[in-house]
C-alpha cells in the first residue's frame, strides 16, 4: 500500500519534466565523457546548434512540427484509454492521401489543392487508425497489436504503389513525380518575405502554424466539449461511461480517427511542406517518438508543444554536434534522446518521488 504522490500541479507539469531532462543530460554527459569528449562543450555545441542561429531555430521548429502532430495523436488516444502506436503507418498513409490529391489535381490553384491535400492526408491517416479501432470494438483485437501491424501494412502498401502504380515513370527510385508549385505549402521564410520580413532559409513551413492550431483544437476538444468529456470518461472509467450512457465503441472509433488524422498531418509538413513528392520512409521514427513526447508532455497540448521543441532541439542540435565533434555520432544523439525518454517517461517516479518528498517537508514545516 503506497500513498499517492501529491505534488502541486505546476511542479508536476514543469519542474518534474525539467529535472528529468537535466538528469538525462547528466547521464548522457557521462557517456560523452566515456568516449573522450568534453560534455560541457558538447552541451554548448548542441544548444548553439539548435538555437544559436536563425537557421538552427528554423530547423528545430521544423522537427518540432512533426513531434507536435504525432505527440497529439498519441495524447488524444491516451485520454480515451487507447494506446495508438501506429503513428508511423498513419503518417505514411497520410502521405499517400496527400499525394493522391496532388498527383491528380495539382493543375488547380493552390487554394483548392492545398486544403484538399491536407484533408486527404488527414482522411487517410484517420482511416488507418479507424480500422484498428473498429477491429477492437467489433472483434476484440487490441489496438496496440493491430496499430503496430498496420505500420507494416502501410509501409508495404506504399512501396507497392510507388513501384507499380504512382511512381515516376522511368525512375529507379520509388518516388512520385514532383508536385506542381500550387501544391506546395509555403516555407515560413517565403511567407514572411511576402510581408517584407527577411529570415534565414529553413524547411520550417506553415505546417508549424497548423500544428499550433491543432494543439489549441485538442485543448478545446478534450477539456471544453461534451465529446471531450465523453472521451475522458471512457479513458478514466469504462464502467462509469457505460453507466452514463456513453457508447465506448463509438468513442473508441471517433478517438482513433482523430488520432490517426493528427498523425496523418505529419505528411503535411514532410510531403506538402518540404519534399513536394511522395517518397519512402519520410515518417522516419517520428510516430514512435510521439509516444515519448505525449508522455513527457503529460498528454496536455502545452506540454506536448514544449516537449516537441525539446526533441526538435535534440534533433537539430545533435546534427550540428556530430558535425563539430565527429566522435559524437548520430547514434549518440539517438542514445541521448533515448535517455530523455527513459527519464521522462519510464523512470518518472525516480524524479517524482524525491520532488514529492521535498514538497511534503516544505508543507510540514510551513504548517
Amino acid at each position: 500500500m503506497s500513498t499517492p504522490i501529491e505534488i502541486p500541479k505546476w511542479a508536476d507539469v514543469s519542474l518534474v519534466p525539467v529535472l528529468a531532462v537535466i538528469v538525462a543530460f547528466l547521464v548522457a554527459g557521462l557517456v560523452v565523457l566515456g568516449i573522450g569528449e568534453n560534455p560541457v562543450k558538447a552541451t554548448v555545441l548542441l544548444i548553439q546548434g539548435a538555437l544559436g542561429s536563425g537557421e538552427g531555430i528554423g530547423y528545430t521548429l521544423y522537427y518540432a512540427t512533426n513531434f507536435i502532430f504525432t505527440g497529439l495523436a498519441v495524447a488524444i488516444a491516451f485520454h480515451a484509454g487507447l494506446f495508438n502506436i501506429g503513428g508511423e503507418g498513419q503518417a505514411t498513409m497520410g502521405g499517400l492521401g496527400a499525394a493522391l490529391i496532388c498527383l491528380n489535381l495539382d493543375f488547380l490553384p493552390w487554394y483548392i489543392v492545398l486544403p484538399l491535400a491536407i484533408l486527404g492526408a488527414m482522411a487517410m491517416g484517420a482511416l488507418w487508425a479507424f480500422i484498428p479501432g473498429y477491429l477492437q470494438v467489433k472483434r476484440g483485437s487490441h489496438v496496440v497489436i493491430t496499430t503496430i501491424m498496420f505500420n507494416f501494412l502501410a509501409a508495404t502498401l506504399v512501396v507497392y504503389l510507388l513501384v507499380n502504380v504512382i511512381g515516376k515513370p522511368g525512375s529507379m527510385s520509388p518516388e512520385t513525380r514532383v508536385f506542381a508549385a500550387s501544391a506546395h505549402l509555403p516555407y515560413v521564410h517565403e511567407a514572411l518575405a511576402y510581408f517584407g520580413i527577411k529570415i534565414p532559409k529553413s524547411p520550417l513551413n506553415l505546417s508549424f502554424v497548423l500544428a499550433l492550431l491543432a494543439s489549441a483544437f485538442i485543448w478545446i476538444l478534450v477539456w471544453h466539449t461534451k465529446l471531450g468529456y465523453a472521451i475522458r470518461t471512457v479513458g478514466h472509467s469504462p464502467t462509469a461511461a457505460t453507466y452514463a450512457g456513453i457508447s465506448i465503441g463509438r468513442i473508441t472509433l471517433i478517438t482513433m480517427a482523430i488520432s490517426g488524422a493528427l498523425a496523418g498531418m505529419l505528411a503535411v509538413n514532410e510531403i506538402l511542406g518540404v519534399q513536394g513528392r511522395l517518397l519512402l520512409e519520410f515518417s522516419s521514427g517520428y510516430g514512435f517518438i510521439g509516444i515519448a513526447v505525449a508522455l513527457m508532455g503529460r498528454a496536455h497540448p502545452v506540454g506536448i508543444v514544449l516537449a516537441s521543441i525539446l526533441f526538435g532541439m535534440l534533433y537539430q542540435g545533435g546534427t550540428e554536434l556530430s558535425f563539430e565533434m565527429p566522435r559524437v555520432t548520430r547514434d549518440m544523439i539517438v542514445a541521448i534522446s533515448g535517455l530523455v525518454i527513459l527519464f521522462a517517461g519510464a523512470l518518472d517516479g525516480l524524479i517524482r518521488r524525491p520532488v514529492a518528498g521535498v514538497f511534503a517537508r516544505l508543507l510540514k514545516s510551513g504548517a
Partner: protein, 517 residues
C-alpha cells in the same frame, strides 16, 4: 455468549499506543491517540469515515509510521516500520478486501510468502501440520486442498484468518469483517472471534455496525476526527451512546417515517431472466411491481443477482427474457440504453460509486454531470461550459451539504459520504419517476447515513417509486414499505417490515423458503 472477566491486574496490555500523532499534509489523521487493549479480549474500534481508525490500524500494522508516539506490544516497546515487522511482533491483519489468489487452493494461499525455503514439499508438510493444529485449537476447520475461488465468502475469510495465525499472529486486526457476510456467517465469525480470545489471542474489530460491537466485544473505543474520544466496557454502554460519541451530537438511529401512500403501479417487472457473459443465469424469472410513493426493499447477500437486476433496470445490461414496464410502456424496446432510460425518468444510484457512479479522477463538478453531460444546461452545441457546471455544482453542494464546498476539487478527495451525496444530488435533482438505489450507505459515515435516509423518505413521500437494494438488513428494515429477498437469482419471499425480523430475512437470504422450511 459468555463474556470473559477482566484480566488479572498486573498483566501487561497486549497493545498500548501512547500519544500517537500522524499528519498527512494539512490533515491531522491521528492526534495524541492513546489506546490500551487487554490481552485475550475482543476490542472494538468505531468511528465515522475519516475518524482516523484506519490510519491508527495502518500505523499498528506498519503501513505508516507515526510522527510521534510509542507502541508497546505486551509491555515491550517496538518500532513497526513495515507489515513484515508487524508480523514479526505477532500482529496479523484481515483486510476488508481479501488478499487471496482465487485459482490456488487453501494451502497454497496460506503458504504464499511463507514457503519455508526453496523446496515446496517440506514447507507444505509443515503447513499442513500447522493447519491441523489450528483446526483443533480454534475449531477452524477447512479443507486445505479446496480451491479458494470455489469457497463461499465466509470460508475465504477463514483462509485470511488462518494466514495470519499461521504466521504466528497473537494480535488479530479485522477491518469491517462482516461487510460481505450473511447474518449466519457473521454469527459464525463472532463465535470464532470469541474462541480466539478465549484461547489467548487478542482481537481488534473495526466496524461501522454498532450491533456487532454490542454482540462480540469486551471493550469498545470510539474515535472522532482523529481523536480517541472514549474507551468503554461494552457491557456498560449502548448503541445510542456510541452513535452519539461517534458523531459528537445526538443521532436518530431509527428513521422517522409516516405510513406510505402508494399510488398507481409505476414500474412493473415481469418474468425477467438475465444471463451473464458466460451465458449462466444470474436472474431467473423475477417479477415484481413498485408503486409511486413506495420504497421496495430488495435484500440479499451480495452476488445473488441483485446487481444484475439493478443494472438491467437501468439499461446497462440487456435482459435475456421478460419485460420491464414504466407506466405500462415497455422500456426494453422503447428505451434500451442507459441514456434513454434516464430520459424516461428512470434514474440510478449505482452500487459501486467508485467504479460506476463517479469518475474519481474528475473534478466534483465533472462527476456532478455524469450521465447528464449532453444537457443543454451545461453548454451550447458541442461545447461544455466549465463555468456552468461549476455553478450548478456549487448550488447542489449547498443543498446537500457536500463538504468541502469546492467544485473544482478531485472527486477522489471527497470522503465516502460526500461522494455518495454527489451521486445522490445529481440523480435526485434530475426529477426521477423511478429511482434505483444500490447500497446507498456503503462506506458512508453515520451522519451522512441519517441525511441520505431522510432524503429517500422525502422522495417517497413526494410520490417517487424507489427500489432500494442493500445488504444492510437494518437499512432495508427501517426504510422499506415492502421487502423482497433474492437468493440464487430468484425471489425467495416477500415481507413487510412489520411482519418480519432479521432471522426470518436471514433464512430467506440463505434460500430457505417457506415451503422448504
Amino acid at each position: 455468549m459468555p463474556r470473559l472477566t477482566d484480566k488479572v491486574a498486573g498483566q501487561a496490555p497486549a497493545i498500548a499506543l501512547t500519544g500517537i500523532d500522524k499528519r498527512f499534509g494539512e490533515v491531522r489523521a491521528n492526534r495524541d491517540v492513546n489506546l490500551t487493549v487487554a490481552p485475550s479480549s475482543v476490542h472494538g474500534i468505531v468511528g465515522e469515515n475519516g475518524a482516523g481508525k484506519s490510519t491508527l490500524m495502518s500505523i499498528l500494522y506498519g503501513f505508516y509510521e507515526a510522527d510521534r508516539g510509542t507502541i508497546h506490544i505486551h509491555g515491550r516497546e517496538v518500532r513497526i516500520r513495515s507489515p513484515k515487522e508487524a508480523i514479526a511482533v505477532g500482529i496479523g491483519m484481515v483486510h476488508q478486501h481479501f488478499m487471496l489468489v482465487e485459482p490456488l487452493n487453501v494451502i497454497d494461499n496460506v503458504m504464499l510468502g511463507a514457503e519455508g525455503g526453496a523446496i515446496l514439499a517440506k514447507g507444505e508438510a509443515q503447513m499442513r501440520a500447522a493447519l491441523a493444529q489450528l483446526a483443533e485449537t480454534f475449531g477452524l476447520v477447512i479443507d486445505p486442498d479446496a480451491i479458494v475461488g470455489d469457497l463461499p465468502v465466509g470460508l475465504q475469510q477463514r483462509v485470511e484468518i488462518l494466514k495470519a495465525l499461521v504466521r504466528g499472529a497473537d494480535i488479530l486486526i479485522l477491518d469491517e469483517p462482516t461487510a460481505v457476510l450473511t447474518p449466519d456467517e457473521a454469527e459464525q465469525l463472532f463465535v470464532l472471534l470469541r474462541t480466539l480470545a478465549a484461547q489467548g489471542k487478542t482481537v481488534i474489530l473495526i466496524t461501522h455496525k454498532l450491533n456487532e460491537i454490542m454482540a462480540v466485544t469486551d471493550h469498545v473505543s470510539v474515535m472522532r476526527r482523529g481523536e480517541m474520544v472514549a474507551t468503554l466496557k461494552t457491557a456498560e454502554t449502548s448503541p445510542v451512546q456510541l452513535a452519539d460519541l461517534m458523531v459528537g451530537r445526538h443521532v436518530l438511529l431509527d428513521v422517522a417515517k409516516g405510513p406510505a401512500k402508494p399510488g398507481p403501479v409505476r414500474l412493473s417487472v415481469e418474468h425477467l431472466v438475465i444471463s451473464d457473459t458466460h451465458a449462466s443465469l444470474r436472474v431467473k424469472d423475477v417479477s415484481f411491481e413498485i408503486r409511486a410513493g413506495e420504497i421496495l426493499g430488495l435484500a440479499g447477500v451480495a452476488g445473488n443477482g441483485q446487481s444484475e437486476l439493478l443494472e438491467a433496470l437501468a439499461g446497462i445490461i440487456t435482459p435475456t427474457l421478460g419485460s420491464i414496464k414504466l407506466d405500462g410502456q415497455d422500456l426494453i424496446t422503447l428505451a434500451p440504453t442507459p441514456a434513454e432510460r434516464r430520459e424516461q425518468g428512470v434514474l440510478h444510484i449505482p452500487e459501486d460509486r467508485q467504479r460506476m457512479g463517479l469518475v474519481p479522477a474528475f473534478s466534483a463538478a465533472e462527476s456532478m454531470i455524469l450521465g447528464f453531460q449532453s444537457d443543454h444546461e451545461f453548454g451550447t452545441g458541442p461545447l461544455l461550459s466549465t463555468a456552468a457546471i461549476q455553478s450548478h455544482t456549487a448550488k447542489e453542494m449547498d443543498l446537500y451539504d457536500i463538504r468541502p464546498r469546492d467544485a473544482a476539487l478531485k472527486t477522489a478527495k471527497f470522503s465516502g459520504g460526500n461522494q455518495q451525496k454527489i451521486v445522490l444530488a445529481r440523480e435526485i435533482e434530475h426529477h426521477p419517476k423511478v429511482l434505483l438505489v444500490g447500497q446507498p450507505t456503503r462506506g458512508v459515515d453515520v451522519g451522512a447515513i441519517e441525511f441520505i435516509h431522510k432524503r429517500l423518505i422525502a422522495l417517497r413521500d413526494a410520490g417517487i417509486a424507489i427500489l432500494l437494494v442493500s445488504v444492510e438488513l437494518d437499512e432495508i428494515m427501517s426504510l422499506s414499505d415492502r421487502i423482497i429477498v433474492m437468493c440464487g437469482g430468484v425471489i425467495t419471499g416477500e415481507r413487510t417490515p412489520e411482519t418480519t425480523n432479521d432471522r426470518d430475512l436471514g433464512l430467506l437470504m440463505a434460500g430457505v423458503t417457506e415451503r422448504a422450511a
